[in-house]
């Protein structure tokens, strides 16, 4: 089963790219592939490259990927209760993250050599200061932990570090995850549905926080979400995924005012944006195709109101048809074939 089918995306520095799609579109698979946490077996990367700051991450292998994961590329997940270890206090877990960062700082020289030798296997970091939970946190380390908690605006941080994860609310836990992720000052933060499990008001707080910290820490964020409204609120650019393909990508304003792909148009017109007397919801007919059987041509054929003969023969290429606006559809772009609707 092809979960991702030749997905091409860019994330620019210090921008928030939202990848939007419904369940089964492959957005979580994409996030896991970037951070190298795809469970393989059964998952396998068949082809393609993930180029991060000039290095192809796929060629790296697990040992070298560890140098990136958690430091240059950090990730936060949907359910913070399972991301935090329930048997250790919160303060200890943040301390561990900070210690890892410190130990890597000692290897700065190793890292820069390593960046140039991407195709050779480099032995893992020799300086490994593992954090022992039996030690009490004190002094400088404690100050750093409290500072990181204050950064994510957690009240009474000196009490919170003594708490266990289950004693805190979902919003607090998610903010701690953000604190741990950002303490590494990563270049890229991958956030997989970070607010889906949170209340509306907590979601607003967390998203607002993420945007603020983005500018402070100069991080780029890849936000995976099923909620197009959330993407509209925080994203600089949006990529829409359907059944394993990226079908459209552009900056958020263009996507909203000029949606090119029929799926994006369908998605926008099925959002309830007002009262029933004013809004006519137009649901997309049909359902997502079964990815277990291979599909020839464009995967949206069964539901598209503009389907043409070419659509079922060959999959349209994902190309830039307007400035900074890419789409995979025969309706747009000369490369994909002549059509009266082409610009």
């Amino acid at each position: 089963m092809t979960a991702l089918d030749k997905v091409s995306l860019d994330i620019r520095s210090n921008e928030l790219l939202a990848v939007v799609g419904e369940s089964g579109c492959g957005k979580s698979t994409l996030a896991l592939a970037i951070i190298g946490l795809l469970p393989s077996p059964p998952a396998r990367v068949l082809s393609g490259e993930i180029v991060f700051k000039g290095t192809d991450l796929i060629r790296l292998g697990q040992a070298n990927m560890r140098e990136y994961r958690g430091t240059q590329i950090a990730m936060i997940f949907q359910e913070p209760l399972s991301s935090l270890n329930p048997v250790y206090k919160v303060g200890d877990q943040i301390a561990e993250a900070i210690m890892v960062k410190r130990s890597r700082e000692g290897n700065a020289r190793v890292e820069s050599d390593f960046m140039q030798k991407t195709h050779k296997i480099v032995p893992p970091s020799k300086v490994s200061k593992s954090f022992r939970y039996s030690k009490r946190i004190s002094g400088e380390l404690k100050d750093e932990i409290i500072a990181s908690l204050k950064l994510v605006r957690i009240p009474d941080p000196d009490q919170v570090i003594e708490r266990y994860p289950f004693e805190l609310s979902g919003g607090m836990r998610q903010r701690i995850m953000i604190a741990m992720a950002l303490s590494q000052e990563p270049a890229l933060l991958v956030a997989d549905e970070p607010t889906t499990a949170l209340d509306v008001t907590t979601q607003a707080q967390v998203l607002k926080l993420m945007k603020e910290l983005m500018t402070k820490v100069k991080t780029s964020v890849l936000l995976i979400t099923h909620d197009l409204a959330v993407a509209c609120q925080v994203a600089d650019r949006v990529a829409v995924m359907y059944a394993g393909d990226v079908v459209e990508a552009s900056n958020v304003f263009d996507l909203f005012s000029k949606p090119l792909h029929p799926y994006t148009q369908g998605l926008l017109s099925c959002l309830p944006t007002g009262s029933k007397s004013k809004v006519d919801l137009k649901p997309i007919p049909g359902s997502v195709p079964d990815l277990r059987s291979p599909i020839v041509g464009c995967k949206y054929v069964s539901r598209c109101p503009f389907v043409m003969k070419a659509c079922s023969e060959k999959k349209p290429e994902f190309i830039e048809t307007m400035e900074n606006h890419e789409v995979a559809c025969y309706l747009h772009g000369e490369k994909n074939g002549p059509h009266p609707a082409n610009n």
């Binding site: 209340d199 008001t201 707080q205 099923h226 409204a229 609120q233």
Partner: protein
């Protein structure tokens, strides 16, 4: 809170009215199963509201506000601690109530389509279950009614022999809807009916619910945390916070001009699918939901309220009209004009 919802505007007949409805859950202290509980989780703390016939009311709030407990208490799935529920003119709280008769007119649809259907029972039999249990109909009558329900929710007739495992989430929810409307009820309680569904499926279900409401003259009580869905589907809105009703009125009015400080925070936090209207980044609400066992004295929202002062921490505000049909429970509601 002692006063019932005083509405100077009487629109049509009420289909359901609660008066000071309360549901407390005892918290067991220690291991002794015989010890009497001293502390209670005040899930629903005196809610008085009216559902008007043929309309949809959205009960909105976040986790812990008590909206699900309210729904389940009204559906008689759990016994209220105190207060009254008058359904279709008759009180349904007293011991004489035959729940089977009530359920002919009151049904419920749940949030999770996966657990709404018994995985071992065929779709047709699930839909027919209320007809057998409540109406005592024979096989042929049930078969006909099931056929009609399936057609009404847009599912093919051959679904009758399928098992839930063969259906998608959206289809399962349609079966749940078919089951709920098969006894032709008057009021249907919808507990987050689309929260577990994708956007495109959600749109299909919302349209279906609207259509069914027209065709069968149904009243809906919609429980949701999704403001956009609440705004779309409902005529009236009731905002709950920590077991209390804090605002009640026409959806249009509340969305345009929310008056209770919590409602203002709630609505401004709901993400709008419009990149030019970035309300989310201006929303400001601090603090956490209060404990349901030890609520703060006075108005439960006062520790987080930007307008709190004086009586807010000593006296619980009553639900009072600020404009015809629009009720708010706030001591200083004039501050939000």
């Amino acid at each position: 809170m002692k006063s019932p919802a005083i509405c100077t505007v009487r629109r049509m007949d009420p289909i359901l009215q609660t008066t000071d409805l309360t549901k407390y859950f005892p918290v067991q202290r220690g291991l002794n199963p015989f010890s009497k509980a001293r502390k209670f989780v005040r899930a629903v703390d005196g809610v008085s509201m009216t559902i008007w016939k043929g309309t949809t009311i959205a009960v909105v709030g976040e986790s812990g506000c008590g909206k699900t407990t309210l729904a389940r208490t009204i559906a008689l799935l759990t016994k209220p601690t105190s207060g009254d529920i008058v359904f279709d003119g008759k009180s349904i709280i007293n011991g004489k109530t035959n729940s089977k008769l009530v359920y002919r007119d009151l049904q419920m649809i749940f949030q999770d389509p996966e657990s709404s259907l018994d995985p071992n029972i065929k779709v047709g039999d699930s839909i027919g279950e209320p007809l057998e249990g409540l109406m005592g109909w024979g096989k042929n009558e049930v078969k006909n009614a099931v056929e009609k329900s399936l057609a009404a929710v847009g599912l093919p007739q051959d679904s009758v022999d399928r098992l839930p495992g063969q259906l998608s989430g959206g289809q399962k929810q349609r079966v749940a809807i078919a089951r709920a409307i098969s006894p032709q009820p008057k009021l249907v309680i919808l507990d987050e009916p689309t929260s577990a569904l994708d956007a495109s499926v959600q749109a299909q279900i919302l349209r279906l619910l609207l259509q069914l409401q027209k065709d069968y003259a149904l009243s809906y009580m919609l429980i949701t945390h999704n403001i956009a869905v609440a705004e779309y589907l409902s005529d009236y809105m009731a905002v709950m916070y920590s077991g209390n009703l804090v605002e009640y009125g026409l959806t249009e009015e509340i969305m345009a001009k929310p008056r209770h400080p919590y409602t203002i925070a709630l609505i401004s936090s709901a993400p709008i699918a419009n990149p030019w209207k970035r309300n989310l980044l201006q929303a400001e609400i601090r603090g956490e939901v209060p404990s349901a066992i030890n609520p703060p004295p006075g108005c439960k929202f006062n520790p987080r309220c930007p307008y709190a002062e004086g009586t807010c921490s000593t006296e619980i505000p009553k639900l009072l009209e600020v404009s015809p049909g629009h009720l708010v429970a706030c001591h200083f509601v004039e501050k939000t004009t």
